[in-house]
């Protein structure tokens, strides 16, 4: 069935290194993608989004890359800090729909 999934459930990186979190999606009709960060005990927090007519978008310390050919999305976090420790979810919206579908999440742990 259609799904938004993540390649790795956990990721551990050294403080100061760059992190890359990956996400695969299967619905070619999806035209909008969002990365959310969820800290313990809190709701998901918007990080960055990208539309399907783009292949890259940059924010503050974060970059999202979209490869529509292989239906792959990635979130790059530069110079990872302890405050980046959280679970990261990718989510998709399908063209013409408001429904936001989430993947399972990747837990990012920062080692000092």
């Amino acid at each position: 069935g259609e799904s938004v999934g993540l390649h790795l459930p956990t990721l551990s990186v050294q403080e100061g290194d760059n992190s890359i979190i990956n996400c695969a999606y299967s619905n070619s009709a999806s035209d909008y993608f969002i990365w959310y960060k969820q800290e313990s005990g809190k709701g998901p927090q918007f990080i960055i989004d990208i539309r399907s007519n783009m292949d890259k978008r940059q924010g503050q310390r974060v970059t999202v890359l979209l490869n529509k050919t292989v239906k792959h999305l990635s979130l790059q976090i530069a110079a990872t800090q302890p405050g980046d420790s959280a679970v990261y979810f990718c989510a998709e919206k399908r063209k013409g729909a408001q429904k936001l579908v989430f993947g399972q999440g990747t837990r990012l742990t920062i080692n000092p």
């Binding site: 709701g43 927090q45 979810f89 429904k99 399972q104």
Partner: protein
């Protein structure tokens, strides 16, 4: 801008009891979502409102779950009767267009 407000933050009930959650979305946001997030999983959409109309409730267990948004602003989600597997965090989110903003959620424990 005030965020999405949810209450209560925590709730513990016995199975077969009923429970209700309340959500106040961000002012002006026409779209309101209720998600269920089981521990270790991503949020799963239960119901989506556009103003006071239901857009999608395909994954709402309608035999026990109900939700309303009578005036197109606040919303309540009810479970009656609750089952053990309903233990989860219930997240409310609102949107004016593409980006959805989430509340802190209500953590429900059914014992």
């Amino acid at each position: 801008e005030a965020g999405v407000a949810q209450s209560p933050r925590y709730k513990i009930i016995e199975k077969r009891q009923s429970v209700a959650f309340w959500c106040n979305p961000i002012s002006g946001h026409a779209t309101l979502y209720w998600y269920q997030q089981i521990l270790g999983q991503g949020p799963k959409l239960l119901i989506q409102f556009q103003n006071n109309g239901v857009v999608d409730d395909s994954q709402l267990p309608k035999d026990r779950f109900s939700a309303e948004r009578l005036k197109g602003v606040d919303s309540t989600l009810k479970i009656q009767p609750a089952k053990l597997e309903d233990s989860a965090v219930y997240l409310c989110a609102s949107s004016r267009g593409t980006e959805a903003f989430f509340g802190q959620g209500t953590r429900l424990t059914v014992v």
